[in-house]
Every structure is written in structure tokens, then in C-alpha cells.
Amino acid sequence: MQLGKIAGLELCDQPLRNIFGDALLDLARKNPKVVVLDGDLGNSTKAEYVRNEFPERFFNIGIAESNLVGVGAGLAGAGFYPFIVSFSSFLLCNAYDQIRLAVAMSEINATIIGSHGGITLGKDGPTQMGIEDLALMGGLPTFTIIVPSDPATMHAAVKAAPDIKGPVFIRSSRVPMPYIYPMEETPFEVGRANIVREGEDLTIIGCGMMVSAGLDAAAILSKKGIEARVIDLHTIRPLDVEAIALAARETGAIVCAEEHLLQGGMGSNVARIVTEQYPVPMRFVGLKDTYVESGDPWDLLKKYNLTADDIVAAGESVVKVKKET
């Protein structure tokens, strides 16, 4: 199984985290105010690319996430733009209160990178997986929340972050993702969802790797005579209310797909908009109230029902309901 293959997408030869490292280094070259704070995982998150070229702007604070966030926030107070980078599981769960006070409530300009999001870090197992990051970040008003879906949007998101007022969260990932967009002139505007495929029978709304899975699913559905619109909801906050409402109105059925717990993730946010704006039948593909286990990423996606086939099944189910009502 290869993500995006059915949809005819080309898989990037590097994991998304490497793309993040490239993007961060690019930004650090252009913006001397960018500083990087590492929780001793720079070689895994690829934040170390900056360390190699700008050691004076790279601080390994060690395995001490509370202090990591505080030092980063202090650097913002001193006029710098901090990227605070670690695995989302350790960073958000250890330092949630520090992020709440020193970053969110203080409304500082800073970016938190939650690396190794979702379950596709695979073999290291559930202790390292960030399956609750969007729910946790959702509990912190003032944060812009971005989930890049491919190399181009990762680049665009990192580049855009310092111009966003207030704090930003960007999810990074250990696995390679297919190219959905061109690397040059990538269509990316914070808070504005991208329609990556047109269709009238239903809309698949995804973020991160589930956008590619959604495109695969749309290709499969098409052969069955069902045409799906696919939306890349790369910004979870602020939500593109208009795009979601329009999808509900124009296609009459929605499937949400995310590599995250269903509780408090992208889909629950979309559902809130749909029920307010234009209620239509919905289905949700995501983790169902469970921790995951060690394993090959693709085996895990299959076992925990996060594949294109699962989106297809949800799509068929929701279209059936739509026709009955």
C-alpha cells in the first residue's frame, strides 16, 4: 500500500519531518530573528538542520519540556521568533500548562512544532504517538492550528508562521507524504481550506495524510459512480466555515478523515459547523477512543481503520443515507 498511489500522486522521497527541517532552515536563513528550541530530539524532528548552520540560534534545552516552553517564551519576550520543537506527545502533555500561560494566554508570537503526530511513527509505539494533539491545542484559545498535508504545504506553513499574529501550532510527521501541490506557488492561505478535487455526491474533508487517503478514496468511489469533493482542511483554527458550509449545501453528505482521536479532533470541529450551518449526514474516520500499539505504520493504519478503503466505506454509507432522506 502506498499513500496517494491510486489517485496518481507522486510520493515524496523524504519523510515530512525532513521537509520540515528544510523549511525551518530556509526560514532561519532569511529571518535572523528565528530561534529554535529543542527538547533533545532535533535529530528526530530534523530541527537539527538549523543547529548545523546556525548553532548560536539553536538551543537544546534537554528533556525538560516545561523549561523548554518557558525559555522559548522568554526569547519571544526578548524580541525573537521561537520555534519550539519536539514530539507533540511529550511537548504538549508535559508542558501543557506552560503553553497555556506563557504562550497562549500571553498571546506571544511563536510556533510550536508537534512532530511525530498521529500513529504513523509506528514501531516506537503508543507512548510516543501524538494522537491527541489537535484536541489539546483546541483547548488553547489564541492558537492558530495547522496540519500540513504534503511537502508543499509544510514549506508554506513554516514560512507563513512568523507573519501570523499570536501563537501557531504546526503538526509534523515521521512518514513521507505524496505531493498534492506544486512546491512553487503553493496555494496556501491560513484559514482557507483547499478544494483538491471536485465532486457533487459527497465531500471528504481531511487533514494531514488523510487528504491523500481521501484522494485515493475519491478515485475508488469514482469507479463506483460516486463523485467526491475532497477538501484539505489544513487549518483547524481558524476554521474555514464558508468552505465547510458550502460543501454541506452543495454535496449534502460529509466524511471527515483524520489521523487523530475522533474526540476533539478535526471532525468534531467540522461537525459543529455543519450542524449550525447546514445539517447533513456525516461519517467520521479516525481513532475510536483507543490507544494504538507498535507496528509498521501501514499495518497500523489498516488495523485501526484509517485507510482509503475505510473512507470509501464511510462515503458509500453516508451517500446511502443522503439518498434515503
Binding site: 518557558g70 525559555v71 526578548a78
Partner: protein
């Protein structure tokens, strides 16, 4: 310009008394707050803002070269606000809006909500880490400012304080100065009874800090230590001044009763307290 007028010894004692009274009026009017935790650090903060220790510009609160003061024990917010108002950051009238709806004078400090409020604190244990960030930033931008962080004793039970203590020594933060308001009480009782901190001097030393001890209510002694701290900056070791203080200092019946933590004085108590503070000339 960057050095506000330094007060004489008598003026400093008067200023401390004024701040003590402001804290009383603010918290009694609000009907809540932490007067006793504020009173224990009055002389420390008076020395910092009015004894020529901090370099600041009230008319330009975010002046890039300012010395930083971070109130890590955020429940002493009334003291911070009183000092800032008396230093000229904002009108003293604002003090009487403490804890009101639509007021920027929040129950605990929120960064930037009032000019001069450097950090959001109140969930304890966080201020020292912020101080390190300011040190590293100042180093990168080749600024000469110093960073002062006022710690509560209870918050030294938090792991983050010791994460920061370790990191400050690692980063050779010679211009980082912590002041510990060691009033020996936390919310529920005497620290030694609840969850003891001793041997505190040894702990900070073993983390690579230079440790000073001082009577936290003796303005001259405090100012002397701040002078010494400046002289030792070149050692590149972070420094802490452990200030032995009395919780509720200045009001005898509050000093004698630790349950005043997080409790404002009622009007009747406030009348007695006002008389006592004023009598201490």
C-alpha cells in the same frame, strides 16, 4: 534617562510603607487577593524599582534595553501593580480596579495587559524559565540588561524551577538573578510541615548557583546584596538571593495567622492594619 531617581533611605522606607498600604486597599476593596504574600516581598520590590537596581523607562515600558523583572509568584500581583503604578507606568487609580470585570488589572498578572507586566504567572514555577529566555535573547542581540525573577518559596516545590536552575547554570547566565521570598509558608501551612525545602542553600549551590542570604525586610542589606550581585556578574554563574521574610509583614495579626493566604482583610481588619502600617514610621 534609563535611571529613574534613586530614593534616599528614608524615602525608600516611606515607599515601602506606601506600597504596603496600596496592597491593603486594593485587596480589601476587591474583597479577595493575596495581601500577606505581597507584603512579605515589599522591601525586595521597593529596592528593585526605587533603589536604583532596575533600569527602566515607565514612558517606554517595552524599551529593548530594560532590565527585566518577572514576578514568578504571580499571586503577589497587587505588589507588582502597586510598584509599577508608583514607578509611573500607569495611573494609581487603576489599582482600585483590581480583579474587576473589564479591568486590565487582573487577579494574577497577564503579560502585556498592563505596561510593565513582563509575564503571565499564577500557575507557579514558571518564571525562572522565562528569565532564561530573556537572558539568551539579550545575549543574541548583544544587550546588556539583567534579568530579575522573584520566586516564592512554595513554588520551589515545582520541578520546572529545578529544570530552570540546571539550565541557567549550563547557559552561564551570570546576568540572571533570582530572589527567593522565603516567608516559610505555603497555602496550606508551614513549608517545613507540608513539603520541606531544606537544605535550600545547598540545593541551589549544587545546581551551580551563587547563593546569597539576606534579611528580606532590611532595605539597606537588600540593596547591598544587589550591588554585590552586579559585581559578581562576570563569574557567569546565576545568582540567587534567599531573602528571609515574614509572611504578612507589617500587620501583626496577619503575620501570626497563615490562613490569611489568599484572603483579603475585611473593613474592620483593614482599619487596624492601616493604623499599624502607618504607625511603623
Amino acid at each position: 534617562m534609563e535611571k529613574p531617581r534613586i530614593l534616599s533611605k528614608k524615602e525608600l522606607r516611606d515607599k515601602a510603607r506606601e506600597l504596603r498600604l496600596e496592597i491593603l486597599e486594593m485587596t480589601t476593596r476587591a474583597g479577595s487577593g493575596h495581601p500577606s504574600s505581597s507584603w512579605s516581598a515589599v522591601e525586595i520590590v521597593t529596592a528593585l524599582y526605587f533603589g536604583g537596581v532596575l533600569r527602566y523607562r515607565p514612558e517606554e515600558p517595552w524599551w529593548e534595553d530594560r532590565d527585566r523583572f518577572i514576578m514568578s509568584k504571580g499571586h503577589a500581583a497587587p505588589l507588582l501593580y502597586a510598584a509599577l503604578a508608583h514607578a509611573g507606568y500607569f495611573d494609581k487609580k487603576e489599582l482600585l480596579r483590581l480583579r474587576d470585570v473589564d479591568s486590565p488589572v487582573q487577579g494574577h498578572p497577564i503579560q502585556g495587559m498592563m505596561p510593565g507586566v513582563e509575564a503571565t504567572t499564577g500557575s507557579l514555577g514558571q518564571g525562572l524559565s522565562l528569565g532564561i529566555g530573556h537572558v539568551l535573547g539579550g545575549r543574541l542581540s548583544e544587550k546588556k540588561y539583567r534579568v530579575y525573577v522573584l520566586l516564592g518559596d512554595g513554588e520551589c516545590e515545582a520541578g520546572q524551577i529545578w529544570e530552570a536552575a540546571m539550565a541557567a547554570a549550563h547557559f552561564k547566565a551570570g546576568n540572571l538573578v533570582a530572589i527567593l521570598d522565603y516567608n516559610k509558608f505555603q497555602e496550606t501551612g508551614p513549608i517545613s510541615r507540608e513539603i520541606g525545602l531544606e537544605p535550600l542553600v545547598d540545593k541551589w549551590k549544587s545546581f551551580g548557583w551563587t547563593v546569597h542570604e539576606v534579611n528580606g525586610h532590611d532595605l539597606e542589606e537588600i540593596l547591598g546584596k544587589f550591588q554585590l550581585v552586579k559585581q559578581l556578574e562576570a563569574t557567569e554563574k546565576p545568582q540567587i538571593i534567599i531573602a528571609h521574610t515574614i509572611k504578612g509583614k507589617g500587620v501583626s495579626f496577619v503575620e501570626a495567622d497563615f490562613t490569611f493566604h489568599g484572603r483579603a482583610l475585611n473593613e474592620e481588619q483593614a482599619k487596624l492594619a492601616r493604623e499599624e502600617i502607618n504607625a511603623a514610621r
